[in-house]
Amino acid sequence: MKAIAVKIFESFLLILAVIVFNFVLIYLAPGDVVDALSGGAFGDGREEINQLIREQMGLDQPFHVQLITYIGNVLTGDFGFSPIGNRPVIEMIAPRIFPTLLLALCALAFAVIIGVTIGSIAARRPTSFFSGGLTVFALIGFAMPVFWTGILLVLVFGVWLDWLPVSGMNNLRLSSSAGFVERALDTARHLVLPTISLGVIFLASYARLSRASMLEVLQSDYIRTARAKGLSEGPVMIKHALRNAVIPIITVLGMEFGVLLSGAILVETVFNWPGLGRLAFEAVLTRDTNVLLAILTMVSATVILANLVTDIAYRLVDPRIRIGDV
């Protein structure tokens, strides 16, 4: 319990550090900060916007006062104003969070479930052709650029075969009277290709990792004990082997959550998925720096939280760690 409290505190400090780091980045950016922040706004409204930003950030104040104001603002959900969207940044970001999380978690579930299944099957026949092919598969999965995988999937399944939708999260022609179930099914169809593009990067490496860890577990004495008890292979694999074999995978999950969300930016861009990544891409095009910074903060915080969650999950799965330290 104490260990978890320490972890939570550390996570909070990390989030603070990210915010400070962001501020320093803006501070160091060349040219007028106001120019950097209002970036894409031209014409009549510009001076007005610049004035607004100056007041908001209190640019006449010394560095540390500005910093503290900035931290306070961010912690209360105030990420400033977007001259492009002509709205507070938080209003632009809020509706984008759910689609990104949905995509990321689906991709993660896809990669973990299929990867662990493939890896476990391969571990039961470690010398088979299938098992050897896994390494090649892992190398290929790693080497394919995400956006390229996405475009290939669009070409093959969306255009040539015309099986699945390739753009957005819902069919625009879906009648507004459509019920929740119909809407959810439509979203699910739109999710398939983005999920695969994003999941494939991890799928192969999880399969390889779980194969190695399953191989080790299957040779352990407690698996022999479970078999000697008279358990059939199903419970031996699922109850006794799997729970031990997923421990190393959980560790990797947390560490790779950042990579997952980075990949989501590319996948969302390819599939016009209305998430944070797509917003980040648009913000790059329009030089909407405030939005970019806010997304960076939000996503970093998400990664830190994901790390915290995996850390706790790790303790739940492995009693040696949970009860081991006082």
């Binding site: 004495d221 078999r227 009693p319």
Partner: protein
């Protein structure tokens, strides 16, 4: 062995097991009598553990082992006799842990680290006796008390890493005996334990055997252990049976040279007086000559 008119509990006949080109068991035959402790002795690699795993039907699981020939006749709880090698996997599972159970050499790694000891013992009880979780728990507690685990109630909810090696082995024994098996196979059950714990454990096993009437197949390389608990002995060497017999007969007048060498390997207090290092015994000399 097989003395008297009663049918043996377990009868291994002409069993041959190969790992690729290596013959792990070569035309092995011996009987195990009901209610007795039979020690299977021999050096490591002589095929003792392969014998045990063959009886359990676990030797071909996840290994390259193949059973070439032979039969293993076993008298079940209901009085019928079956050949374990001809059993379906399903039948075998109803025998494993229920009619024949096994405890292993390494108590430290033989329990699953992510489940409590209680869960692991109850799993066996629920599987074979069809009890509810609640009564399985009562039974597990009863077993823990039987193997003299102190504060049994608490140990039920402990994870294996919280217990000492001796306690973990007691849990293993409790698990093995929980379904009242006719045969308990103990593969070097005391080797990994401290000497003092070893003695306790042997005493406990002997006592439990008297209580439950189970037969024990004790696999060991330690003739000292054999002298203490065994009724019968099967001496194995290089995948073959060298000699079988009653423990008194064999200790009294061993017939095979190898058995004599094994017996000579028991260290005796004072046997090293005046010597700077232990003597090599015949076995090693013979092995070197080959």
């Amino acid at each position: 062995m097989g003395i008297g008119s009663t049918q043996p509990l377990l009868s291994i006949r002409n069993l041959t097991v190969r790992f690729g080109t290596f013959t792990a068991l070569d035309n092995l035959s011996f009987n195990l009598d009901s209610g007795k402790t039979t020690a299977v002795v021999g050096e490591s690699g002589s095929g003792k553990s392969v014998t045990a795993l063959s009886v359990m039907g676990l030797v071909t699981l996840g290994t390259r082992a193949e059973i070439d020939a032979g039969e293993i006749l076993f008298e079940r709880k209901d009085g019928s006799t079956i050949d374990l090698l001809q059993c379906t996997e399903r039948e075998m599972r109803s025998i494993r842990g229920n009619e024949i159970s096994m405890i292993f050499q390494e108590p430290l790694t033989s329990l699953n680290p992510v489940y409590t000891t209680g869960d692991q013992v109850m799993e066996s009880i629920q599987l074979h006796q069809g009890l509810t979780r609640r009564s399985a728990k009562d039974k597990a507690l009863e077993m823990f008390e039987m193997v003299r685990i102190p504060r049994a109630e608490k140990v039920l909810t402990d994870y294996p890493h919280q217990l000492s090696g001796g306690m973990r082995q007691r849990v293993m024994i409790a698990m093995a005996l929980s379904c009242d098996p006719k045969l308990l196979i103990a593969d070097e059950p005391t080797t990994a334990l401290d000497v003092t714990i070893q003695a306790q454990m042997l005493g406990l096993m002997k006592e439990l055997q008297d209580q439950t009437g189970a037969s024990v197949m004790l696999i060991t390389h330690d003739m000292g252990v054999v002298a203490e608990v065994a009724d019968d002995i099967v001496v194995m060497r290089r995948s073959k049976v060298v000699e079988t017999g009653n423990v008194y007969d064999i200790f009294e007048k061993p017939e095979a040279n190898y058995t004599r060498a094994l017996l000579a390997s028991i260290p005796r207090l004072g046997s090293m007086t005046g010597k700077s290092e232990p003597e090599l015994f015949d076995l090693v000399l013979e092995a070197n000559e080959r």
